[in-house]
């Protein structure tokens, strides 16, 4: 796909120029433009710096897959393919999605009154087979993405240490976190507007 695609959220939500939701989106023009600018900053940056295109798109396929959002997952899978990832990577990503899927949010609160709201759930780590194909660095990113997607309130410094140990710098971790966080936004805007258009 080329950069000619005008607006990713429109594409994911099926919003056509001149439609009612196109008009609704134009009432918040800066949000619309800057959501697109966020996509470009994270997936088509001037410089990929410490995080490669293949890493960015592989994380995106994993995160959209965990959300069960077929439209977004297909969008990012196509772009992962265009980065010419190592053989076996797309299949390993799909296998990781299947192994990691669940329902969120869950997790623990600080001990006290909120403990009664603690909700148990799995802490996922990429299995040895997928890890062999993805490499330690991308596997660590997937472990972190699963934490943020499903149980972000279980976050702890040790989880960031695991990324540092796998070769992610502080700045790389900021970019990775922004990618996961942005996708949490983009998937929901697209899904929400898709429902709004048909309801």
């Amino acid at each position: 796909m080329s950069a000619a695609l005008t607006d990713v959220i429109d594409a994911l939500a099926g919003i056509r120029p001149g439609s009612a939701l196109d008009a609704v989106r134009n009432r918040r023009p800066q949000a619309r433009e800057q959501a697109e600018a966020s996509f470009r900053a994270l997936f088509e940056p001037e410089s990929f710096a410490g995080v490669s295109a293949a890493e960015r798109f592989a994380v995106a396929v994993f995160v959209t897959g965990l959300h069960g959002d077929a439209v977004s997952a297909a969008f990012y899978a196509e772009r992962l393919g265009a980065t010419e990832p190592s053989p076996g990577v797309p299949a390993a990503v799909d296998a990781a999605i299947a192994a990691a899927s669940g329902q969120g949010p869950y997790g623990r609160y600080p001990v006290g009154l909120l403990s009664r709201e603690d909700t148990p759930g799995p802490s996922y780590h990429v299995g040895p087979e997928a890890r062999r194909i993805l490499g330690a660095r991308l596997a660590a990113a997937f472990d972190h993405a699963h934490l943020l997607v499903f149980h972000p309130r279980d976050a702890a410094p040790a989880r960031l240490q695991a990324l540092l140990d796998a070769g992610w710098s502080t700045t790389d971790i900021v970019t990775l976190s922004q990618i996961i966080a942005f996708l949490s936004f983009q998937i929901r805007v697209a899904a929400g507007l898709r429902i709004l258009a048909t309801a």
């Binding site: 918040r28 600018a37 600080p110 970019t175 922004q178 936004f185 709004l196």
Partner: protein, 202 residues
């Protein structure tokens, strides 16, 4: 690797949802306030944000921070029609309550209380959680935020219909969607890059 986890200073973590002013302590090293480049300053958008360790940490990817900040401002501050500001903030607070981000919930519960003038209802959202009965209009907004925040997403046409019955037009519903979606992003950054703390004097 030279990069290291930052050990937060001794502090008291908030153990409940609160409208009190909280600090936020980073687990990774923010950029130094002095020595921010022009591009990093542009990422912060408002120069005053250079005081915040959270924004100085995110300024390590300045283009992403800038686009995100400008998105945030239009979703919450654009005064033209749609959902009233107090209810955009309610959506942010409800999303944060559901995801479990004590810091984000504190900020946006304060804003919602200020703009809606319904501080007691906002406090009940914090105390009782997203099932608190705050009247049908607020209940409908909160239920929509919860459904949109679930993973996989549970938001469906019945949520839109309920919002319409509560008097929201499509722009207002789009505002609910954007506010909740944005805080699914913000909660994940605040929860995973540092932690909230009660101010030292409190």
């Amino acid at each position: 690797m030279a990069d290291k986890i930052v050990q937060p200073p001794l502090h008291t973590a908030p153990a409940v949802f609160t409208r009190a002013l909280l600090d936020w302590l980073p687990w990774l090293e923010p950029l130094a306030e002095e020595g921010l480049t022009e591009r990093q300053m542009a990422g912060l958008v408002d120069a005053v944000r250079a005081k915040s360790p959270y924004f100085r940490l995110l300024a390590r990817d300045p283009d992403a921070l800038r686009a995100r900040t400008l998105t945030d401002k239009d979703i919450f501050y654009n005064p033209e029609a749609g959902l009233p500001r107090g209810e955009r903030e309610l959506a942010a607070a409800a999303t944060s309550r559901f995801n479990g981000c004590i810091y984000c919930a504190s900020v946006h519960a304060r804003h919602s209380a200020t703009y809606s003038k319904r501080a007691d209802d906002v406090q009940r959202l914090l105390d009782e959680g997203v099932a608190a009965d705050l009247g049908e209009r607020w209940n409908a907004i909160i239920a929509a935020c919860v459904a949109l925040s679930a993973t996989p997403i549970a938001f469906a046409s019945e949520h839109v219909e309920r919002l319409r019955r509560a008097g929201l037009d499509d722009l207002a519903i789009a505002d609910v969607i954007h506010a909740a979606a944005f805080f699914n992003s913000a909660n994940r950054l605040m929860l995973s890059l540092g932690e909230p703390a009660l101010p030292a004097e409190a």
